[in-house]
């Protein structure tokens, strides 16, 4: 089993922490994992993206040139990464923020109204968790338990309510697909 994932969106959408969560959950599940952020100048705004690899074998390169899954959190990200997705791969689109439609017909496309779902739960800040939940369900690359256990590790200073909310959002994401 090998999953190369790219997640991409605006700075501030929690792309990086979602990616770390993914990697942590993979490790918790006993897989090999790597996480690599496309770090930029640290200013807010602009786009943020990261690459995660989850694999049952040792990972050579952590570079994900051709993702098996692309998680798209904003419009520009679709344009930038769509072409790179592996044939037969998965395109996971936050349709709350992405109006455009992908041109590829050789990949699986899944839309999620992540912001709407999150907003209903009280804050759009957890839209990233919704997307991760959906990813976990669709690919089976990571388990919900792995994700849940990892939340506390990734956000060590977060209060329990927040963790619970995140966990809830993961679930809603799973349910949405």
């Amino acid at each position: 089993m090998y999953q190369g994932v790219i997640m991409s969106g605006f700075g501030g959408q929690g792309i990086i922490s979602a990616g770390i969560l993914l990697a942590y959950a993979g490790m918790t599940d006993g897989k090999y994992v790597t996480f690599f952020p496309a770090y930029g100048a640290e200013m807010r705004g602009g786009t943020a993206n990261c690459s995660v690899v989850i694999s049952s074998e040792e990972i050579a390169s952590p570079v994900v040139a051709y993702p098996d899954t692309l998680v798209v959190m904003n419009e520009p990200s679709l344009a930038r990464f769509e072409a790179s997705v592996r044939k037969g791969g998965l395109l996971l689109i936050n349709s709350s923020l992405v109006a455009g439609k992908p041109k590829r017909d050789d990949v699986k496309v899944q839309y999620i109204q992540a912001n709407e779902i999150a907003e209903k739960m009280g804050t759009t800040k957890i839209a990233n968790m919704v997307m991760i939940g959906a990813y976990s369900k669709l690919t089976g690359a990571i388990s919900f338990e792995g994700l849940k256990k990892s939340l506390q590790k990734v956000f060590p200073r977060a209060r329990q309510e927040i963790i619970d909310l995140d966990s809830e959002a993961l679930k809603k994401g799973m349910e949405a697909v």
């Binding site: 100048a41 640290e42 200013m43 807010r44 705004g45 602009g46």
Partner: protein, 263 residues
């Protein structure tokens, strides 16, 4: 008939600025752009962008620009001005750039009395690299490298650049302003204009220190940012003019060699 009473200055390009929401750099950029436009010097100005968030200034100012190594703006400005004394030269710098790595270059350009203008944006933090301590970070203030607050015993005391430079003979104009409120913005613009004029009149070195918000790396909202400038920065970094050309006496040039010949 409707008139535009506030429009974008031609001193800036049309390119979107990459700064964070509520960042003071944008205001300072605009003021410099307006001053260049009003003084009619945009075409003959050479600007220097620092290494810092405003590295991108080389895209934003509508004049010839150059982007050099971190902290070396004053040295680069010196090279430019000596070769092109007909041009107006300004170096735009952050606090890390100017007062940490670039301290020697700053003091020596000032001591030489280079006919240059430094626009010094003091936001008490390293913006571009993600919020490390700056030489102007206040005591007790948290940063990513002073996670428990700046402790003077470990990390020393913040440096007051205007006060430091005011002990030198050569600077002709030194002022500290802020851009957190409309009234301050207006004063800041006056100071910047004066600094450029001092250069145009060949009177000497000029520097304007501008207290500026960095909400991102202060971990606050933009509105809290302007409060922080008001309540914490200004009390420590008093606003005002620290040196003006009026107060400057003519330089007497003693000739020690003569003395030596007679001793």
């Amino acid at each position: 008939m409707e008139k535009k009473v506030f429009e974008r200055t031609k001193g800036l390009t049309e390119i979107l600025m990459r700064y964070c929401p509520g960042c003071g750099h944008g205001v300072v950029h605009r003021l410099v752009g307006e001053v260049m436009e009003e003084l009619g010097i945009t075409n003959r100005t050479i600007g220097i962008a620092p290494v810092g968030c405003s590295v991108f200034a080389d895209e934003y100012f509508n004049c010839d620009m150059i982007q050099p190594a971190h902290g070396r703006g004053p040295a680069v400005a010196t090279g430019i001005k000596r070769v092109r004394p007909d041009c107006i030269v300004f170096s735009y710098q952050g606090d890390g750039d100017l007062a940490s790595i670039g301290m020697a270059e700053t003091i020596h350009a000032a001591a030489r009395g280079e006919r240059i203008t430094i626009i010094f944006v003091n936001n008490a933090i390293y913006g571009m690299t993600g919020g490390q301590m700056a030489p102007t970070t206040l005591l007790g203030m948290k940063s990513t490298t002073t996670p428990f607050g700046r402790d003077p015993r470990v990390a020393g005391y913040p440096i007051k650049v205007c006060e430091l430079l005011a002990t030198l003979e050569a600077p002709a104009y030194l002022a500290r302003v802020s851009v957190h409120k409309p009234a301050n913005v207006l004063k800041a613009k006056k100071a910047i204009k004066k600094a450029f004029q001092v250069q145009m009149n060949d009177q000497g070195f000029s520097l304007v220190e501008i207290l500026s918000q960095c909400p991102t790396d202060w971990f606050v909202t933009p509105l809290q940012g302007i409060d922080f400038v008001e309540k914490m920065m200004i009390p420590f970094f008093p606003l005002g003019e620290y040196k003006t050309i009026e107060g400057k006496k003519e330089t007497v040039k003693p000739e020690p060699k003569k003395v030596l010949e007679t001793v």
